[in-house]
């Protein structure tokens, strides 16, 4: 457009915007995006499809093979066939639920404080949270192991945490708090503070103003934080692998099992968890859409 004459400017000031050139290059980005979506989804599709794979009997326990024979639902019917896997799943849930609940309870307050108040130590708190999120899991996992080993060898107050369920739970709470805190903080910062003052002007005491006005408004942030903590806990491998002792969660069991080849039940359970995750996410999305449409 550097050669534009005065005439162009006067008669067609909007020409550069209003005449999109219909060239083939405009297809590059959409096609690329779709290709990326397919690439990102590919392993998941493989996982789902192979949960219906007919595995030729070899006499040993069933292991997934690359030869795909369509189709059987026998692995879905025998979803509980692998005992160790069931147990690992149970541990995963028994860790994830309390860990997410506790982390949400504690982390919500941290997020609230960071979003609402200015105080000494605020920047420091923000930085610790940032570090907790950015530090490589391998460092966090190894340092948590060092903590449990140290406690185990010195037994302060006669207390110690054996490596296993409890050490996994405590570690999961530790790394989840930061994620809940930032999720809630983001929500609190987006809040109109005049709403709460309005409530107080209308003779609501601070407690009532908080529970009737502020809390309902930040609730979506708290729910999102809880779900995030739940997913992080269910999915964690590296940190768990350091502190689990001989207790297996779903990820650590799958990791161990694949050295021999994965049993088809792994595909089945992977698909189940995936479906649940997607369903919850879609539900959240629809609900937030609806509340936005209402307001």
């Amino acid at each position: 457009m550097s050669t534009a004459t005065l005439e162009d400017v006067v008669t067609l000031p909007e020409a550069p915007i209003r005449t999109p050139r219909k060239r083939w290059t405009r297809f590059i980005l959409p096609v690329f995006t779709i290709a990326m979506i397919v690439y990102l989804a590919f392993p998941v599709l493989v996982m789902i499809v192979y949960s219906f794979n007919i595995i030729p009997p070899t006499g040993e326990s069933e292991r997934q093979t690359t030869d795909f024979h369509c189709c059987t639902i026998v692995h879905w019917q025998e979803i509980f066939k692998v005992q160790e896997l069931n147990h690992a799943l149970l541990i995963s849930v028994a860790v994830a639920l309390p860990s997410a609940l506790i982390a949400t309870a504690i982390g919500t307050f941290v997020g609230l404080v960071l979003g609402r108040y200015r105080f000494r130590g605020r920047a420091m708190t923000n930085f610790v949270i940032f570090l907790a999120i950015a530090v490589p899991e391998i460092v966090l996992g190894s340092s948590l192991l060092a903590l449990f080993v140290q406690i185990g060898s010195s037994k302060p107050l006669g207390l110690y945490v054996p490596l296993g369920y409890w050490s996994i739970l405590l570690s999961h709470i530790a790394f989840s708090i930061a994620f809940v805190a930032i999720t809630v903080r983001a929500r609190v910062q987006g809040l109109d503070t005049s709403l709460e003052s309005a409530a107080q002007d209308l003779f609501a005491n601070p407690r009532v103003a908080f529970f009737r006005v502020t809390f309902p408004l930040i609730l979506p942030g708290i729910v999102a934080g809880f779900l995030l903590a739940l997913v992080l806990s269910l999915d964690d491998f590296v940190i768990t692998n350091f502190v689990n002792g001989s207790t297996n969660t779903f990820p650590t069991w799958v990791f161990g099992a694949t050295r021999l080849g994965e049993p088809p039940q792994v595909n089945v359970w992977g698909t189940v968890l995936f479906t649940v995750g997607v369903a919850v996410a879609v539900l959240q999305l629809v609900r937030s859409r609806r509340t936005r449409a209402e307001s």
Binding site: M1, V46, M47, F130, I138, L147, A174, F175, I182, A186
Partner: protein, 315 residues
């Protein structure tokens, strides 16, 4: 808990009788500060015990001698700097390899995620959030399972190379598993959302009128992108770099599932030193070196964008 924000004080007109909740602003201010610390206490305490103390113990262990490298030997603190020289002497090539892999994978992640995030943010229209959702959905599958699936797909006779080999397009002993290619491809895949999310958020925030203004001022499309969109998306790019590069460097799962002895990354070495060989002091030194590198990057980043923005981008 819910007190009026501090700026309200100035807005109370003279002679107006305050409702009871708004009386005694100064006392409230003091109480508010106390309330803030009280609410912060449980989370702060947990983060100190679950995060600061463990990191301190790691630093302490890294400067200790342990009589026996077996489980029985207790470590004794002795300013044992030799742990660091041992760690660096033995494993400097592994550190360099991890950094190189992570750098390549980070560039790939951003190179692939940027155009995608850009198109969705600028041209996605009403499908924006649905399209972006489609990108995130695969990551609802457990990290370990995803990596195992790639192992399955890229396997010697796997989904891709099996058919190619039976068609004779690829030689029979060809394999990508256990090569740097497989490891880099794996970490690129697994950390893609950590690049896509901040990029998308920063691109989506850009005011379209700025781009239009650039075009009104006779900037070509490419020029408008280079001079307006790209600089405004720098915070997203920074966030994407730190959110991918740092965890990639410490990766363990991809290096073990997709890699081999020649593609070992530092995460594998640390894990082995801790859990298999029980060489706690050297293992701790290896961790501290990795953490120090990460801390430098994080501090630079926090300096550039502020801690708040940094953590926000992480969300």
């Amino acid at each position: 808990m819910g007190q009026a924000p501090p700026d309200v004080k100035g807005h109370i007109p003279q002679g107006v009788e305050l409702p009871p909740a708004r009386q005694g602003q100064r006392a409230l201010e003091r109480r508010r500060r106390l309330a803030a610390y009280l609410q912060l206490a449980p989370g702060g305490l947990y983060m100190v015990i679950g995060f600061i103390v463990p990191l301190a113990i790691i630093v302490y262990t890294s400067l200790s001698t342990s009589g026996l490298f077996s489980t029985g030997g207790k470590s004794v603190f002795s300013w044992e700097w030799s742990n660091y020289s041992t760690a660096l002497d033995q494993y400097h090539d592994v550190y360099i390899r991890s950094i190189v892999y992570a750098a390549i994978a980070t560039s790939l992640c951003i190179g692939l995620a940027y155009p995608m995030a850009y198109w969705i943010a600028f041209y996605g229209g009403q499908w924006k959030s649905t399209l972006f959702m489609l990108i995130l959905v695969p990551f609802f599958v457990s990290f370990v399972i995803r990596t195992v699936q790639w192992n399955f797909i890229l396997g010697t006779n796997g989904l891709i190379f099996g058919p190619l080999k039976s068609l004779g397009l690829v030689s029979q002993d060809f394999t990508v598993l256990r090569t740097p290619f497989a490891v880099i491809a794996g970490i690129t895949y697994n950390f893609m959302p950590f690049a896509a999310l901040p990029l998308y958020v920063s691109l989506e925030r850009i005011d379209r009128r700025l781009v239009e203004a650039a075009k009104d001022l006779y900037a070509s499309k490419a020029m408008a992108f280079r001079k307006v969109v790209l600089p405004l998306s720098f915070p997203g790019i920074f966030a994407a770099i730190i959110l991918t590069f740092v965890p990639m460097t410490g990766d363990y799962v991809n290096a073990v599932v997709l890699g081999g002895p020649k593609t070992t990354m530092i995460g594998v070495i640390i894990q082995d030193a801790f859990l298999v060989r029980h060489e706690y002091p050297v293992a701790a030194a290896l961790s501290v070196i990795l953490m120090a590198g990460m801390l430098v990057i994080a501090l630079l980043y926090a300096r550039a964008l502020g801690t708040e923005d940094a953590a926000l981008a992480a969300a």
